[in-house]
């Protein structure tokens, strides 16, 4: 049964067909036919952002929280280029985002028309695939293909560039014939031998570690990882994007590794004789100098993407496959064991750092109070910088996939818009966007979006008056020359008032719980400013390019140049 529709109508119909509920976008000249058609499509809820970058981050947040494709829409030219940071973020962090951009009409392409930009060319390296739709008759199948590519295998962003005349062009529309069969993984692995070898290595290891990353969350392998850990007693390390793949409070949880990993975590890596890495990519922030990374360890690497295996570190056994499938096979293949002596050794590495904070307003106190108020269903979306590291290490995540952050790209300004997407995916659970004063000011205009669209995102700003992480690097590595890192902030309480939402300023630890309770109880968005110490540092720290064995644990006394 077919009917004749415009390209714009076909686009709307196909999105609905693919189960899309939310679009984050911003209209403009070359996408106007689509926005016209959207008016007849109540199944699609459009969230009008204040900047297209926020649309891409929000779609990314929605995708990460829901496991479904997140959709953002922009016009040609500046609208399309504003999406780029968000698409690059989704690309680095394997998030299935579909971007739809308007393009100038086909006869105008290549003539530097008003608001023309080669967004296909611009986004080639930061998308899994992109398409310039040449004919409305191809539109439905291209949307279906785009959604499938975004979700298939290792997820990632895709972009559909639709010329304005194609949106207006009439074509036959046929609903999708049948449910799409999941396409087979292109490199269907037969990894039985790899699993057997991995199991043998696990049985023989004296100092094994499990390192789990985002792949575990993408595969929903929470229960499997927990079973594998409990069956073997192996300590579990969660990478930045692996946080909330394993309960923080679990006795087998060790912590986050890498540049700001705790000393005992990195030391365990350096002493380990076996690392079983599942769904991570051994990023340089995790490994430090790879030549000095885990020098005693053999590495078993499980990843959905065969191109990741052996990319950054040399592996003994590589298994290309889904984290859940492979972990299930590992559970079957691995005999129960314990790691008591190894745990004893690791406990010997642990130490308490003596840090004092003005008025007790420490990241630890903040995370503790927020958790006490929000409970175990809270999702925390962080931005980039010092607060990101503090929250990653100190918030006692319970909710699987409750931690969302911009890991690979490290895009400041991510938290506030991404939290809007997380909120729409989890409307009945508290969602907190935590930013620094730098990143918050990048996308704080999205408060208006929250108000207009009724998105109950709670925001907390760690305000230290600095671009804190850069300032910390300046202190450690650039002779304390705080070049261009002091940053002024508006009065956030008044800012909140200007947007018509409640705002609080917290300067003492004892105020935390009461303010968080009130903010969390508000029906709509709310803003909490946390006035923390100005020159606090994130410890420990592995210098960039350094070995995990050589952490910086205190601020250098004399400034180096």
């Amino acid at each position: 049964m077919s009917e004749t529709l415009s390209g714009a109508q076909i686009l709307c119909r196909t999105l609905v067909e693919e189960g899309v509920q939310y679009l984050f976008g911003y209209p403009g000249g070359a996408i106007m036919p689509f926005y016209h058609a959207l008016g007849d499509c109540p199944e699609l809820r459009h969230i009008l952002v204040r900047h297209e970058q926020a649309a891409a981050h929000a779609a990314d947040g929605y995708a990460r929280a829901s496991g479904r494709v997140g959709v953002c829409v922009a016009t040609s030219g500046p609208g399309a280029t504003n999406l780029v940071t968000g698409l690059a973020t989704a690309h680095m962090d394997s998030s299935p985002v579909l971007a739809i951009t308007g393009q100038v009409s086909r006869p105008m392409i290549g003539r530097d028309a008003f608001q023309e930009t080669d967004v296909i060319g611009i986004t080639l390296p930061i998308t899994k695939a992109n398409w310039l739709v040449q004919d409305a008759a191809e539109l439905a199948d291209t949307v279906r293909e785009a959604v499938a590519v975004a979700l298939d295998g290792r997820p990632g962003p895709v972009l559909l560039d639709v010329p304005k005349d194609v949106q207006n062009q009439k074509a036959e529309y046929r609903p999708k014939a049948a449910a799409r069969q999941p396409s087979p993984t292109p490199h269907a692995p037969s990894f039985a031998d790899g699993v057997a070898e991995a199991a043998r290595l696990i049985a023989a290891a004296q100092r094994p570690l499990l390192m789990v990353g985002h792949g575990v969350i993408l595969a929903g392998a929470y229960a499997e990882i927990r079973t594998l850990a409990e069956q073997t007693g192996i300590p579990v390390i969660t990478t930045l994007l692996g946080i909330s793949a394993f309960p923080e409070c679990h006795p087998l949880h060790l912590g986050m590794p890498g540049m700001h990993g705790e000393v005992h975590v990195n030391r365990a890596i350096q002493q380990a004789d076996l690392i079983v890495g599942i769904g991570l990519r051994f990023d340089d922030r995790v490994t430090g100098n790879t030549a000095a990374f885990a020098p005693r360890a053999r590495i078993v690497h499980v990843d959905r993407d065969p191109a990741e295996i052996g990319k950054n570190v040399k592996v003994t056994v590589g298994i290309a496959g889904d984290a859940r499938d492979v972990t299930r096979r590992l559970i079957e293949a691995v005999a129960p064991r314990r790691c008591d002596a190894w745990w004893e050794e690791i406990r010997g590495y642990m130490r308490v750092r003596d840090e004092s904070w003005r008025d007790g307003l420490s990241p630890e106190a903040i995370c503790r109070a927020l958790f006490a108020v929000t409970g175990e269903h809270c999702s925390v979306v962080t931005d980039v910088g010092q607060h990101q590291m503090w929250v990653a290490k100190l918030f006692p995540y319970r909710r699987p996939n409750g931690h969302v952050t911009s890991g690979g790209l490290g895009a400041m300004g991510f938290a506030v818009p991404a939290a809007m997407g997380v909120h729409l995916a989890r409307p009945d659970e508290p969602v907190w966007a935590i930013s620094g004063d730098g990143g918050f000011q990048m996308n704080m205009a999205e408060i208006a979006t929250m108000v207009q669209e009724g998105l109950a995102v709670k925001m907390a700003v760690f305000n230290n008056g600095y671009l804190g992480m850069v300032r910390q690097w300046q202190q450690f590595f650039h002779g304390k020359r705080y070049s261009c890192t002091p940053i002024w902030s508006p009065d956030y309480v008044k800012l909140a008032a200007a947007y018509g939402i409640p705002g609080w300023r917290v300067e003492r630890a004892r105020e935390l719980e009461e303010v968080f309770t009130e903010a969390n109880a508000v029906r709509g968005p709310a803003l909490v400013e946390l006035v923390i110490e100005q020159e606090a540092n994130v410890f420990p720290m592995i210098p960039p390019g350094g070995s995990l064995s050589e952490p910086i644990e205190t601020a250098p006394a004399a400034a180096a140049t």
Partner: protein, 178 residues
């Protein structure tokens, strides 16, 4: 650049976006590239991209894996130069006044080059072969006055002989990938 060490051979969908994406993956490696050639393959709807480049075996392995997951790429393999047969075509426009016709014709015969077009004082010669052979031909014509050279860039296939075993110094990034 120095001699290319590898011939990258990619079978990809016959569209300019797939080509752009594949070349983008190669470009991102930031490695010296000697030539790029693209044309139809033996499969309808698929093109063959050949890139002659310098890399090491570990870098080659990483690049091929990245290409294999690239949308629009059907197959990718990187042949070590020793394991491949690589050939290209060149067209040379050369000054050819009547008094040198005899000499030019002799050189052309020596290189099995073909006179594909001629006009007053101009020959267009076509030569095919390995890169060194083409360079020798061009050098032999230099003294007549070369007006223009167009080279296709090399295309390559795996050689008919069994591959030379890997040298012991070459390291693969993975011991076992299943």
């Amino acid at each position: 650049m120095a001699e290319p060490t590898h011939a990258l051979s990619v079978l990809l969908d016959d569209d300019v976006f797939a080509l752009n994406r594949a070349v983008g993956v190669v470009r991102r490696r930031n490695l010296p590239i000697a030539s790029i050639a693209v044309g139809p393959s033996h499969i309808p709807g698929a093109s063959r991209l050949t890139v002659m480049m310098q890399t090491d075996d570990a870098g080659a392995d990483r690049m091929v894996k990245q290409l294999q997951k690239t949308y629009g790429v059907r197959e990718a393999e990187l042949l070590r130069a020793a394991d491949a047969v690589a050939r290209e075509v060149a067209l040379v426009r050369v000054h050819a006044p009547a008094e040198v016709h005899q000499e030019l014709t002799e050189i052309a015969e020596l290189f099995k080059a073909e006179l594909v077009d001629e006009g007053p004082d101009v020959f267009v010669l076509q030569v095919a072969g390995a890169a060194w052979f083409i360079l020798s031909f061009i050098r032999a014509l230099e003294r007549f006055g070369i007006m223009e050279v167009a080279r296709s860039g090399a295309v390559a296939v795996r050689s008919a002989a069994p591959p030379v075993p890997s040298s012991p110094t070459s390291t693969s990034a993975t011991e076992t990938v299943l």
